[in-house]
Structure formats: structure tokens, C-alpha cells
């Protein structure tokens, strides 16, 4: 058969946080690793993110959050995914995520939590190894 289907990743910036350096670097690294990458751009509300997921049907969603809003926004995003019966997408959050918040986020079904100093290849491997479909 022909070539394997490319892994499709949606890189998102939820909330008002404008720190997009990490998100852009990761988006490019995933693209360089052969994935199809869509970057939402800044200031995405949970509704906008879920709408994009419905439209684009990605294999993985990477949320980048550095403003401390992860505990407020992640539950809303995960609830909305559930409402829309989306359960086969890997959802990861990274940025500035304190260790003590990780169990709460894990409980919601989020993974990854990569922070400053993470190597790009670690993130590429993480996506490849944790896909749900």
C-alpha cells in the first residue's frame, strides 16, 4: 500500500496568554518530524478550540499555557470534548504547569505537562507513543 497517513496535530493557545514562542517552536518541530500541524493562533476560548477539533479531527491536541489559567480552562475544554463524544484524541497540556497541579490534570485525561527545557525530540516521541487511534 501507499504511504502511511500523517499524524495530525492541533497546537493551541487557550486563554489570553500571549507567550507563543514555545507553541510555535513545538509546532515547527512536529512538522519537521513529518506530522501535519495546525496552529490555532492566540486567544482561543474553549469553544473555539473544540470547534476546531470537530472540524479538523486531529489525532493529538497540544495546549500551551503559561499564564496559570490551566486549572480553570482545562476542565472546560475536557468537558466540552466529552459533550461532543470525542474520546480518541490525545490531549496534552504544557508550558508552566506546577508539579502539584499534575494529578488534577491527569484526572481530567490530560497528559504530557512538558515545561521549559524539554527537548523537542521528547515531545515528538511523546506524541507518537501516546496516540489513541
Amino acid at each position: 500500500m501507499g504511504e502511511q497517513r500523517k499524524i495530525k496535530v492541533l497546537v493551541c493557545k487557550p486563554g489570553l496568554d500571549g507567550h507563543d514562542r514555545g507553541a510555535k517552536v513545538i509546532a515547527r518541530a512536529l512538522r519537521d518530524a513529518g506530522m501535519e500541524v495546525i496552529y490555532t493562533g492566540l486567544h482561543q476560548t474553549p469553544d473555539m478550540i473544540v470547534q476546531t477539533i470537530l472540524q479538523e479531527d486531529p489525532d493529538a491536541v497540544m495546549l500551551s499555557m503559561l499564564s496559570g489559567a490551566h486549572k480553570a480552562l482545562c476542565p472546560v475544554i475536557m468537558d466540552k470534548l466529552k459533550e461532543n463524544e470525542i474520546d480518541d484524541v490525545l490531549v496534552s497540556v504544557g508550558g508552566i504547569i506546577p508539579d502539584e497541579d499534575k494529578p488534577f490534570l491527569e484526572e481530567l485525561g490530560l497528559k504530557g505537562f512538558y515545561g521549559p527545557g524539554t527537548e523537542l525530540k521528547t515531545i515528538v516521541e511523546f506524541v507518537k507513543n501516546n496516540l489513541k487511534r
Binding site: L16, R28, Y39, T40, A72, V76, I96, G115
Partner: protein, 544 residues
């Protein structure tokens, strides 16, 4: 004890430890600099006397022998009352200027109970919705005695109006006030991304502020033209230098187009630069910045006053250089960066706290950061003579090189039609994205060593105590806002907002109209929503 295996951290070559030495702007550094490298060097035209054109050696004749730089620590979190307590702590420990960090919702001009503010209230800075919060923020602090810097851009005119009215209520007239509002929207489109309105109406608001302050708040710095965020977003030092000064030129041109005399406003423009890890590159960046600005203001914009040509700047050490791994190492990084800023002639300095890659700084970390500045000031001897690095073959060569590279960028920007067309063509955004990706690759291939991150890592669990923002802050802030809405005259607020809206459709200066809304306790969200109806909002392309 941990054995450090040198072969892992350094690339072995025959005679030198690296094939090529480059700085963070990718400029190749030679093994040795000699008089040959600055052959055409002319002391009078290239450097000159400190405090005189072209200001390469410093903005003032005797620099820190007269007065030390302002030690200004950026701070803000939670409610206005919480931040007020932190300010009093900083003042007690010898900080000499205040610097307000606002909550993200304030930065975007939303009020605490807007949907967009969910999860953000008080997290990254202090939550300010109305004049009432501003009054609380400076309660017990005499606004005629302190200088205050406010990092605010899209709604800068609104926060300035709140500050002026808060001072009025303390009994101080606007002409007594000293401070700075960042008010630099161009770098928002380029790097920091907290824009609201499209570029043209944003520029109008900025020029309105410059014009208003020239008449009414003469000691206020109306804009802090910022390279800091451009650098944090991943630019090189040369890009930071070039893009920031290009923004500066754009503001000067816009104000002159309004009909203002360059000598009436240029002395109140100020700059804000980053200080990253490559010590000499940073020092030379500041020296080059002063020289480029002075020449351009004199030769192109026809400034007559010396103060119009004199570039003054605030520096913050590079947040992006802080590592989350072994965070105590950041104390050493900040010391080197702070020293570079001082040897580059900064007018004020914020030194980052070592825990800032993890959270907003704790009190202990803030105190160490401030102490670092005091050690540089009083113990290092760096503040005892003006521009002590001048005349070094390397420093003068690199200062020239930074200027040349910046000039090449000015030509490119000019060819694109100026700063705003270049923003719309994503020129800056692409340049920065490329530079930050390249840097990250170099770190990963260990072409650049970040100590404790990519050389040798002791994997320890993070033991740094973190500052936690109470989740009740949002609830408290929203309750305050609702209480205020019950107390004020909503009818008067509506009338003032209506007047502002009408004025925004015309060409009048909007600052007096904004002040009228603020006096009636209109919220930042209400004022911004009114302006959005007339100005619209900006959307960027999502490139990476």
C-alpha cells in the same frame, strides 16, 4: 560529589574547543581583537563625551557617580490590596521606583467578570477593573514622591487616566506625576501579542497620549519603546535592537505627522531593553542603540534639543534565560545580565527572581534579586566610572557591528513600506520565529550549552517553594466590581461612554473623554468595549 565529564559538554577540536564561536546574534567572534578591527575609529564622532551627542558612552555626563540607576522591580499579583502590600515591602527594602504588572484580563482591557477573564484574574499580575482598584493599589503611597512604571499597552490611555485621577484624589496635580506607561503597541503585533485594536486606531491613541502628556503631564514618559518582549519571543540581540528602534522611528514619524514638534515630545520617549546572557553583546547593543537613535533624531528628524537625541532606557534581565532546572543557577545568570545592563548605561533595572521559570516570584526570591542590584551598585565598582568598557578593541568593534547589522534591517523594513506594512506582511513575526527555532535547535544539539539544562543534569525534584495565587482572588474581584456598579451612577457612566464613542468617530484627542469616564468609575471593560465599537479589533495570521 558529581563528576562532570568534560567530553560530554565540550566539542573537542585540534586547537580550540569549538569550530566556530558566535554570539546570540550569530555574529562570528574572532580569537583576538586589535587596533586593526577599529581602524577608522574616531573618538569624537563615534563616542564623544558622555551626556553629549552621539551619546555612545552614556545618557548623562557623570552617569552613576551622580545618581545610581532606579532599582525598579516589576510586581503585581492578586488584588490591588495584595499588591499594595508587596509594594510597601519593596519600598521598605530600598526599591526606588514602582513597576506595575497587570493581570492578563486588564492587559487586554477585559473586566474580571468577562468570559475572557476566566482563570486569569490576578494570576500574572494585579487585577485592575476601575479607578477604585487604582486607588487601593497606591493607598498609603504618595504619588507625588514615587515614580511609577505601568506595563500596559492596548488600554494604556485608560490606566494612565486612572493613575492621574487617583493622584488627583490624593491631592496631587498631573504636572507632579513621574512615571512611564509602556504604551508601545507596535511590539505587541510583533512579539507580545496583547493587541486589541487594529494598528491605525492604536497609533492614534498613542499619539493622543503623547500630545496630552506634553501639555498636561510633562514629567511623564509617554511610551516605553520595548525590545524586551521581542527578545523574549525569540529574537536575536541584533533583531531586538533593530526592530525596537524601527518602532521608535515609526512613533516619531506619526507624532510629527500629527503636527507636533519633535523637540516637544522626543525627550519624553523612553526605551526598554532585555539583558540576556552574552555579556559583551548586550553591552554593545545598548551603546549602539544610543548612537543610532541620536544620529537618526538629529539627522533625519531635525531634532535641535540634545534631550531629544538622548536615548534613555530601562532594562529587565532575560526571563527566557531562566531555567526551571536547578533554579538557583539563575541567581548567577541574573548577576551577569544585571552587570551588562549597568555597564551599558541603563537608567533603571529590574533583575528577575530565580524562581520565575516556575511561578511568580516569592518574597525571598524578590529580595535576592533586589540585593543583586545593590551588590552591583555598591560592591562591584562598576558604577564608579562612566562607560568603563569603552576603548576595548572588541567592545568598539562589536558596537559598530551591531549598528551596521541594525542598519541593514532598517533598509529591509523601509523596503516593505515601514513598520506597519511589515507587521501586516508578518516580516518581524517570521524573523523571530526563525531565530527562536534556530536557538532551540542549537541548544538541543548542544552547540549552545545551558548549564544545568543540556550539559549535565542532576535530576532532582523541584524543591523551590512556589508562590500560589489564591483562587478566591477572582471571586473577590468580581464581587468588588459588582458592588461598585451598585454604588456609582450608571446613567452618568453611560452618558460619558456615549460622549467617548462620538469623539472616537472624529479626530479629537480622546484622553479627556477617557478621563471623564474614569472619574465616574467606568470599568476598563466598558471603555474598551465602547472603543471597539468604533475601532474594531485586530486578528493576526497564525504563522509558525
Amino acid at each position: 560529589m558529581t563528576e562532570i565529564d568534560e567530553s560530554k559538554t565540550l566539542k573537542p577540536t585540534k586547537t580550540e574547543r569549538r569550530e566556530k564561536f558566535t554570539n546570540l546574534s550569530d555574529i562570528t567572534i574572532k580569537p583576538l581583537y586589535t587596533p586593526e578591527d577599529i581602524k577608522d575609529f574616531n573618538y569624537d564622532t563615534d563616542l564623544g563625551t558622555p551626556g553629549k551627542f552621539p551619546f555612545t558612552r552614556g545618557a548623562y555626563p557623570n552617569m552613576y557617580r551622580g545618581r545610581l540607576w532606579t532599582m525598579r522591580q516589576f510586581a503585581g499579583f492578586g488584588t490591588a490590596a495584595q499588591t499594595n502590600t508587596r509594594y510597601k515591602f519593596l519600598l521598605e527594602h530600598g526599591t526606588t521606583g514602582l513597576s506595575v504588572a497587570f493581570s492578563l484580563h486588564t492587559i487586554y482591557g477585559y473586566q474580571a467578570d468577562d468570559d475572557e477573564a476566566l482563570g486569569e484574574v490576578g494570576k500574572e499580575g494585579v487585577s485592575i477593573d476601575t479607578l477604585k482598584d487604582m486607588e487601593t493599589l497606591f493607598s498609603g503611597i504618595d504619588l507625588s514622591k514615587i515614580s511609577t512604571s505601568m506595563t500596559i499597552n492596548a488600554p494604556a490611555a485608560i490606566l494612565l487616566a486612572m493613575y492621574i485621577v487617583a493622584a488627583e484624589k490624593q491631592g496631587h496635580s498631573a504636572d507632579k506625576l513621574r512615571g512611564t506607561i509602556q504604551n508601545d503597541i507596535l511590539k505587541e503585533y510583533i512579539a507580545q501579542k496583547s493587541w486589541v485594536f487594529p494598528p491605525e486606531p492604536s497609533m492614534r491613541l498613542i499619539i493622543d497620549t503623547i500630545e496630552y502628556c506634553a501639555k498636561n503631564v510633562p514629567q511623564w514618559y509617554t511610551i516605553s519603546i520595548s525590545g524586551y518582549h521581542i527578545r523574549e519571543a525569540g529574537s536575536t540581540a541584533v533583531q531586538e535592537l533593530a526592530f525596537t528602534l524601527a518602532d521608535g522611528f515609526a512613533y516619531v514619524e506619526a507624532a510629527m505627522k500629527r503636527g507636533l514638534d519633535v523637540d516637544d515630545f522626543a525627550p519624553r520617549l523612553s526605551f526598554f531593553f532585555n539583558s540576556h546572557n552574552n555579556f559583551f553583546e548586550e553591552v554593545c547593543k545598548y551603546r549602539a542603540a544610543r548612537r543610532i537613535w541620536a544620529k537618526r533624531l538629529k539627522n533625519k528628524y531635525g531634532a535641535k534639543k540634545s534631550e531629544s537625541m538622548r536615548l534613555r532606557f530601562h532594562t529587565q534581565t532575560a526571563g527566557v534565560s531562566l531555567s526551571a532546572q536547578e533554579p538557583e543557577n539563575n541567581i548567577a545568570r541574573v548577576t551577569i545580565q544585571g552587570l551588562a545592563a549597568v555597564l551599558g548605561g541603563t537608567q533603571s533595572l529590574h533583575t528577575n527572581s530565580f524562581d520565575e521559570a516556575l511561578c511568580l516570584p516569592t518574597e525571598k526570591a524578590v529580595k535576592i534579586a533586589l540585593r543583586t542590584q545593590q551588590i552591583i551598585a555598591h560592591e562591584s565598582g562598576a558604577a564608579d566610572t562612566v562607560d568603563p568598557l569603552a576603548g576595548s578593541y572588541y567592545v568598539e568593534w562589536l558596537t559598530n557591528k551591531m549598528e551596521e547589522e541594525a542598519e541593514l534591517y532598517f533598509e529591509k523594513i523601509e523596503a516593505l513600506g515601514g513598520v506597519i506594512p511589515a507587521i501586516k506582511a508578518n516580516f518581524f513575526q517570521k524573523e523571530i520565529a526563525n531565530a527562536s527555532y534556530k536557538y532551540q535547535r542549537e541548544v538541543e544539539t548542544r552547540d549552545r550549552i545551558i548549564v544545568g539544562v543540556n550539559d549535565i543534569q542532576l535530576r532532582e525534584p523541584c524543591a523551590t517553594p512556589l508562590l500560589k495565587i489564591d483562587e478566591n482572588v477572582a471571586r473577590e474581584q468580581i464581587e468588588n466590581l459588582q458592588r461598585l456598579r451598585d454604588q456609582r451612577s450608571n446613567e452618568t457612566v453611560q452618558a460619558k461612554l456615549e460622549a467617548l464613542k462620538e469623539a472616537a468617530k472624529g479626530t479629537e484627542n480622546l484622553i479627556p473623554f477617557i478621563m471623564d469616564t474614569i472619574r465616574e468609575y467606568a470599568s476598563i471593560g466598558e471603555v474598551m468595549a465602547t472603543l471597539k465599537e468604533v475601532f474594531g479589533v485586530y486578528r493576526e495570521d497564525s504563522i509558525f
